[in-house]
Structure formats: C-alpha cells, structure tokens
C-alpha cells in the first residue's frame, strides 16, 4: 500500500479501536479501527448499510458503542454525549440535512458557538457586560462563517426557505462555527449537482489549507472521493475491508466487487486536476 | 325607583349546574310570590339579578365582585358549595354586602367573625350530631361504617359525624369499623365496597351525593352487603331512587332537613304549589328551598327595617330577626350568622319509591 498523501502530519487526531455497535441482533459496526491524521481528508466509503453513518454516530456520541474505544487527540472520549464531543473539537453534519428550519440562517450558525460560550441565566437576564461581549463574539464568528460559505446575503432568511445546496453549506457553516479540530461530514455532496459538488471540493480543500482542520468524510460520489481524499477506508457489512490511497482503492478487487461494480468508468475527472 | 334588587350567585354552569339552576328557579318563584302580594317597602317589587360562578372559586370571587359593583344590589343569596362561597364571602364582607349562603354547610364559614355572612341551611355538625344521637339507637347498631366522597361537603359531614360519635366510642357503645373515601365522578366502587363488606358493619352512613350514593347502594347489594344504608342530606332524592332502581332503593335511609314536601308550614305549601305549577315538579333537593328562604328573609328584613342599607340589614338580621316566617320554618340567626334550630329527620324510601319520614 502506498504512503498517505502529503497533508497528513504524523500526528493522529482521531483513533478508534475495535469499535463495535450492535442494533438488536445486527452488528452494524464490527470492530473498526480508524486512524485519522492531522490535516488530512479521510474518506469512508462502502455500500449502503455498510455502517458508515453508524461509525460517525458512535464517534460523535449519538450512539454508545457496545465495544471498543474512541480517542481524540489521545484522550478517551468513548461514551461522551454529543454536546461534550463538539466542545472537545469534533463537529459534524448529517446525511439528511438537519437544520433548525424555522430559525434564521444566522441563528443556525450561531448554534455552533454555543459550546464556546458560557453566559448563564443570571447574566442573560441582566445583560451583564460579560454577556454582551460574548454575544458580540458569537455574532462575529457567525458572520465570518456565513461569509465563508457565501450565505451572508441570506443571513436573515429562515433556513427552510433557502435552496437545498445552500442548506448543505449552512450545515457545514454551523459545524465550522464551533471552531472544530475535526470536521465530520456525512455525504456532503449528496443531492448536489456536479457543479455544486465541485465548489464543495474546492471549499473543503481550502479549509484544510487555511485553517488546519482535519476532515473525516463519508461519500458515494467517487469523483469527490478520488479527487480530494488523502486516505480512503472501505467498509462492508460493518467491517473494514480495505484502506489505502485513492488510486489503490480504485483498483482494489474487493472494493470493485463490493462497492464500485465491474464496469469501468472514468472517475478521473477531478482527481487529475484538484490541486494537492 | 320602585324596585329592590337582590342578587343570586350560583353554579348555573359546570358540574353543579343542576343545583344552580334549581336555585335560580326557586328564587324566581319566591320573588314572584312576594311581588304578587304587593312587594315590600310599600309596593316595591323585587328584582332578581343572577350571576354564574360555575362552581369554581375564582369565578365565585369574580361573580361576587360583579354583584357588589352594582350599587343597587341590596343583598345577595350566595351560593352552593363551601369552597366557592369562601372567596366570594370575602368579597362581600369587604364591600359590606349582606350575603346568605343556601348550600354551604362547612362549619368554618361562620367562624370567621364576619358581619355580613349568614346562612339559611344548617351546618355539617348539626347533621353529624343528629346521626350520632338517633341512628345507632334506632338500628341497635354498634359497628358503624362511614364513607365519604372526598368533596368538601361530604368529607366535612363525615368528620363531624365521627366527632359526634366520639363519646359513644369512648363508652364502648359504638365502634367505627370502616372509614374511607370514594372518588366522586367515578362509577365503579366495587373495590371499596368489598372492603366495607369485610368490615361487617351494622349500619352504613354515606355522606356524599346522590349520584354516587345510587351507584354505591346498587353495587353494594350486588356484592352482598345487606346492612341498612343511611345517606346524608345530599344522598337521597328522587334521582337516587330512579338511578338505583326501586328494588335497591327501597329501605334506604337518610338524614335530612325536612324535605320540601314534608314541610308542615303554609309558606311551604304555597311555594311548592307555585313551583310545581311553573316547572312541573318540585325541587328534588333541599338546597334550592334554602335559596328561596334566603331571598325571603332578605325581603323580610328590608321590609321590616325599612332600609336597603346592607349594614343596617346585617344588624337587623343578626339581632332582630327571630322566628320570621320561612318555607323551611321559622327563621332566626345566631351571633355568628348560623341558622337557629335547623331540624333534621330520618327519611326512608318506601315500597312505592317515595321518600317518607321514617317513624
């Protein structure tokens, strides 16, 4: 297997060992070991129902794993609640977009800063100087992120009223507003057209470059996977069946059988050009 | 100005709407009778002003406010239900308006040193005392079961009865073998009754309302309870007989103020005839009659004292009224505002389903 691509430093941000999640009788995730290096984009692929989303959900505290551990920056975070995980520095998006539909885009993004602020009941009711400063900071971060995803214009629209593609970006902005170390994205390109997908890829690469963020990604769009990931992990039936750099994975016989299908198709469109 | 306005506060809607509406009808009849005889104060007619309190304390207080806000209201016949009466009478007291309760038997109401509150009905403890004095002897019963329904009224009566039995219990002449509550509005009391059956009482006193009483007795007979059933004054009326059915109802006793039909007074006959002529039947519970009497005594006091000032009226009622004619007999008040000398009878349902005085 080839070396990991260049973004990755040696430092490991997220590590799971023997991660296992069981629903009823179904072993959705079976003893998964993952290592996510700082500064890389790691893609998790696999057929439907392979357990990818479930891995995310166990990492981000929505489910509690039956066995195995999750380490974040060498600290054990297994079994922590979702709201604790995000304050550790792991922010996520959802496979089916989950915004706060009846609130404005800005309010949506402000949610990300919740874990970075602390004003309590008393200071909120009495509007203490501390609370005001903090509110200003929350707004500032929200504005920065909204501009970054080019949604500043619709800041006061209700989230449910903006276009689907914008909603995906808004969800990413909300995750980013928590100043995460690791960004966990579940099929961010799902439902986007090739054009929008392209923009997304450029955006994610920019993040890696400019903000020192690490990205863990689930994708079905091979253009994206091949185009921007540094490392690919393939799952099937809850198990890890392969991992490697995109080119190797693309040629891996098991992956072709379980996931890609035999027909040859040109996925190199982006891969060849997206800069590294 | 040739009218005298008298207020009536009562549960026209809500769970006790039945009582409230009968009270309204009774007061209308009473006022009509007086007006037909030429009114009071040399020809002034009585006008009734009705406010609904829905049998609920807050509405009671508001209804009272509404009535005291109307300056022409001379005095108020106020209400059915002690816990509704309480906040309302506070309002009346504050605004110095005579108010006379007609279905409010909680003892505490007249222990507040209020100047303007009176009642034409008795208190819970007078009935309790009657039960203790009369019933065990009559049935030659030592083992007594007392059951109430957890309403202000039923529970009060049960507690007073227990208190009144206390001396007999000390002398080992009586024993309370069962004392518990049922929940009003329920329909199935078999569980409580099974317990009662196991206690083997010789007489069974139920202090709640007829709706539950009827269910209780029929279910009791179903599960084999045979001891005499004695109801309190809210327990037995024509409805009771109808619901329980004649087979079950006959032979059930109750402690009661004299029922409308048994009132030996000419005023009663006149009133009941008029009531029956207008509404087809006489009131099926005693309380509406007390409402009518409350109105009567107000009219009487206004007429005799020649004043419509509530303070004058209150003093007059307290000090001067004694043996004034009423449907329920001569009316007078104690210093606290309680009715003086309310008689009680033991009634029984006879074989025809009529409720007659038990000899």
């Amino acid at each position: 297997m080839s070396e990991r691509r260049t973004h990755a430093s040696g430092e490991i941000v997220l590590e799971t060992s023997g991660l296992t999640k069981i629903f009823g009788g179904l072993i959705a995730v079976n003893s998964i070991d993952l290592k996510v290096h700082k500064g890389e984009i790691l893609s998790l692929i696999g057929p439907n129902g392979a357990g990818k989303t479930t891995v995310f959900n166990t990492v981000t505290g929505i489910y509690r794993p039956e066995f195995g551990e999750v380490f974040f920056k060498n600290e054990k975070i297994t079994g922590k609640k979702p709201h604790q995980i995000i304050s550790c520095g792991i922010a996520r998006t959802f496979q089916n977009i989950r915004l706060f539909p009846d609130m404005t885009c800005r309010e949506n993004v402000m949610a990300g800063q919740h874990c970075r602020s602390s004003a309590g009941l008393f200071s909120s009711i009495f509007k203490t100087p501390f609370q005001r400063r903090e509110e200003d900071m929350i707004r500032e971060v929200a504005e920065k992120r909204l501009r970054q995803v080019r949604l500043w214009k619709v800041r006061d629209e209700l989230a449910k009223n903006i276009a689907y593609g914008s909603q995906r970006m808004l969800e990413i902005a909300r995750a980013l507003a928590s100043d995460p170390v690791l960004l966990v994205l579940d099929e961010p390109s799902s439902g986007l057209n090739p054009r929008e997908t392209w923009d997304l890829m450029v955006f994610l690469q920019g993040l890696i470059r400019e903000e020192d963020i690490t990205i863990l990604l689930i994708e079905h769009d091979m253009n994206v996977v091949m185009g921007i990931s540094d490392w690919v992990v393939v799952m099937d039936g809850g198990r890890k069946i392969a991992e490697g750099v995109p080119e190797d994975i693309y040629a891996d016989q098991r992956v072709i059988e379980a996931y890609l299908g035999k027909e040859e198709e040109d996925y190199g469109d982006y891969g060849a050009t997206a800069e590294h | 100005n040739d009218t005298v306005v008298i207020g009536l506060q009562g549960p026209i809607t809500g769970a006790w709407a039945y009582e409230g509406q009968m009270a309204k009808q009774s007061c209308e009849i009473a006022a009509d009778l007086i007006n037909k005889k030429g009114g009071i104060l040399g020809g002034k007619k009585i006008v009734l002003k009705v406010e609904d309190d829905a049998g609920e304390p807050k509405s009671g207080a508001l209804a009272a406010q509404k009535l005291v806000a109307q300056k022409d209201v001379v005095a108020v016949v106020s209400t059915y239900g002690s816990s509704v009466c309480e906040p309302a009478s506070n309002v009346y007291e504050k605004f110095k308006k005579v108010n006379i309760g007609y279905g409010v038997t909680a003892v505490r109401l007249t222990q507040r040193d209020f100047k303007y509150f009176f009642r034409t009905c008795g208190r819970d403890d007078s009935q309790g005392k009657f039960f203790a004095d009369f019933v065990p002897k009559k049935f030659n019963a030592k083992r007594i079961a007392i059951m109430h329904d957890n309403t202000a009224f039923g529970k009060g009566l049960a507690e007073d009865t227990r208190a009144a039995l206390e001396p007999m219990i000390k002398n080992k002449q009586a024993e309370i073998v069962y004392y518990d509550a049922i929940t009003p509005g329920e329909r199935d009391f078999r569980v409580s009754l099974t317990k009662l059956r196991e206690a083997k009482p010789e007489v069974w006193y139920f202090t709640g309302y007829y709706a539950e009483a009827a269910l209780l007795v029929s279910q009791a007979r179903d599960i084999g309870i045979t001891c005499p059933f004695v109801g309190g004054n809210a327990a037995i009326n024509d409805e009771f007989v109808k619901i329980a059915g004649l087979n079950v109802a006959k032979g059930c006793y109750m402690t009661n103020e004299p029922l409308p039909g048994d009132l030996p007074y000419p005023e009663a006959k006149e009133f009941l005839d008029a009531y029956k002529a207008r509404f087809g039947e006489i009131p099926s519970s005693p309380w509406p009659i007390y409402a009518a009497d409350a109105l009567n005594i107000i009219a009487y006091a206004v007429d005799k004292s020649g004043s419509t000032d509530s303070t004058v009226l209150a003093e007059y009622l307290r000090d001067k009224v004694d043996g004034a004619p009423g449907i329920t007999g001569p009316i007078g008040f104690t210093k606290q505002g309680d009715r003086e000398g309310v008689p009680f009878y033991l009634y029984v349902v006879d074989d025809q389903g009529d409720i007659v005085v038990s000899r």
Partner: protein, 333 residues
C-alpha cells in the same frame, strides 16, 4: 391634507419603545377609570398572563408539551397557603419560596423523565398535574385541608409601609410581576439560552450535535416555568385568601395550554392576547349564562381556523443586525 397626519400616527405605533410606553401608560391609567369588578378581571388576566408566560417557556420556546402546568401553580399556591396559615410566614417572603418549591418539584419530578419524546412527555406532565391535585384532595399529613382547602390566607405586606389588600393594589402587584417577567423573558429570548431552547424545539438531535446539552436546557425550562407558575400561585392564594383543589384541575392546565397556542407559540405579546381571551371571554359572555361555555368552545375552534399560528406569532429574523466585521461591500454577499 387629511392623510398627512396618518403616517405620523402609524409611525408612533410602529416604533417599539413608543408602543411599549403607550401600553404601559394604558395599564397605569386603566384601574382608575373602572370599578373594582373590572380591576379584578384585569387582575385575573394578569394571573393568566403570568401562567401563560411560564408555560410559554416550556411549550413555546422548547416545544415540550405540558398539560399539567396547573400542578406547579397549585404547588405555589399551597406552599403559600400552608406556610402562611400554619407558620405565619409573610406572603412576600413566600413569593420566592413558592417559586422555589414549584421549581424544586419540577426538578425532582422531571429529572428522570426528561428524555421522553413528545406525547409521552405530555402524558407525564398530565399525570403529574393529576397527582398533585389528587394529593391535595387526599390531605396528606393533614396539611392541605383536603377538598376544603386552606383558608384564612394573609395579604402581602411589608410592615405598615406596603400593604396590598385592595383590588387596585393586587392589580398593580400582579402586573408589576408580569412586567418584570416580560422584561426578563425578552432578554432571555435574545440570549444563548433562549436560542438553545429554540434549537431544541426545532431539532433536538441537531441541537445536541451543536453542543447544546438538551437535557439540562429542557430541565431548566421546566424549572423556570414552574417557578413562575409558583409565583402566580402565591399571588392567587393571597388574593382569594383561600385555596382549594377545584382551582387546579386538568381543565385549568388545558386553559393555560390554550393561552400559548391562541397567542402564538414563543410569542410574548401573543401570550398576553391569549390570556386576555381566556380570562375576558367568559366574563364578557356572562349574560348568556348557560350558553356561554358553548360560545367559548366555538370561539376556540374559530380562532384556530382563522389564525392557526396564533393571533400574534413570533417573527423570526425581523431584527436586523448590521455587520460586525465591517466590510459589507464584498462581492460574495
């Protein structure tokens, strides 16, 4: 020109500070224009407003269904009644104590069930309300006076300086409390706590994943809502001078629930309108006696038919904040 003055008036009404001043002025003058009966109606309007505001936190802001709110109200009222009549604690001291008692109760009861979803939580609140009412009727430890309730409750006073015992004074007391509550809640709405509540209402899973500890925020809402209902109970008990279980039925909870929905979920002016409807309507229709509840029922249906979102729903995004970063002239905006 006739129309010249019209925009002027419209402007006055559209400016929030002026509007608030006008409404406040109206509230200050009102009791001096009418009889005690109407002052009392306004007092009960205030009580319902406070109850509505308290439920609005739970129902409107967090979206948790609570059909047992009368339970908290009852606990506030009975705490006041019992401690005042049995131990002579002054009513004003009991004001915070009643709030505390209701809040504590909410905390203890809802801690184990706060994870329940939607209607399952609703049935717990409903059950809780019924448990409280039944307990009051059953007179545990001889404290609650059973169905008779507790009577002889004092009025609020601070020595001889401040005595609240007339309708007018009660009116000012309750509306002072309502006013302060509105002030506090408005500020909360615009804070991270208020937003956190809204996030939970919109999507609890997403809220959790955005760093909101939904469990504690939901509990906080219940505790705060209960505390305010407890305050309402305190004022109610001292105004009526007696409390009895009839005042805290399931139906009462339903009425409070309707206040929030008739007004518009999460909307403070809406709550006031809802409370006005619930407290004024039956009084206005008094002359219809037997038929007034019939009319009331139809009115509720009609309200929902024509204003399903409430009479005055909360508007989002209406408040415009300007850029904090400064450069608005960028191409990407």
């Amino acid at each position: 020109m006739e129309q010249a003055s019209f925009p002027g008036i419209a402007k006055i009404f559209s400016s929030p500070p002026l509007r608030i001043t006008l409404i406040t002025a109206l509230f200050l003058i009102y009791p001096f224009l009418v009889s005690d009966y109407f002052i009392d109606i306004a007092f009960y309007f205030g009580i319902y407003a406070l109850l509505g505001l308290s439920l609005n936190i739970v129902l409107g802001e967090v979206g948790l269904f609570d059909l047992g709110h009368a339970g908290f109200y009852a606990i506030g009222a009975y705490t006041t009644a019992i401690l005042n009549t049995k131990f002579g604690v002054p009513i004003l001291v009991l004001l915070p104590l009643s709030a505390l008692a209701a809040a504590l109760f909410a905390y203890v009861v809802f801690s184990p069930v706060i994870h329940l979803q939607g209607d399952y939580l609703l049935i717990v609140t409903l059950g809780m309300g019924e448990i409280v009412r039944l307990a009051l009727i059953n007179n545990p430890f001889g404290l609650t006076g059973g169905p008779n309730g507790v009577f002889g409750i004092d009025f609020p006073s601070l020595g001889a300086f401040l005595v609240v015992d007339s309708s007018l004074e009660y009116y000012f007391l309750i509306w002072l409390i309502v006013g302060l509550t509105i002030l506090g809640l408005t500020r909360l709405q615009d804070s991270r706590i208020g937003r956190a509540w809204n996030y939970i209402r919109e999507d609890e899973t997403a809220a959790n994943a955005s760093g909101i500890d939904s469990r504690s925020y939901k509990l906080l809402a219940f505790v705060l809502g209960a505390a305010l209902a407890g305050v309402a109970g305190n004022v109610y008990a001292s105004k009526l001078m007696c409390v009895s279980p009839e005042s805290f039925t399931f139906w009462e909870s339903c009425l409070i629930f309707c206040i929030v929905l008739i007004g518009g979920m999460g909307s403070i002016p809406g709550v006031l309108i809802g409370a006005a409807f619930i407290s004024l309507f039956p009084e206005i229709f008094r002359p219809f006696a037997m038929y007034r509840m019939l009319i009331f029922g139809s009115a509720m249906i009609l309200m929902m038919m024509f204003r399903p979102g409430g009479v005055w729903p909360r508007k989002r995004g209406a408040v415009q904040y300007e850029s904090l970063l400064g450069d608005t002239g960028r191409a990407d905006v």
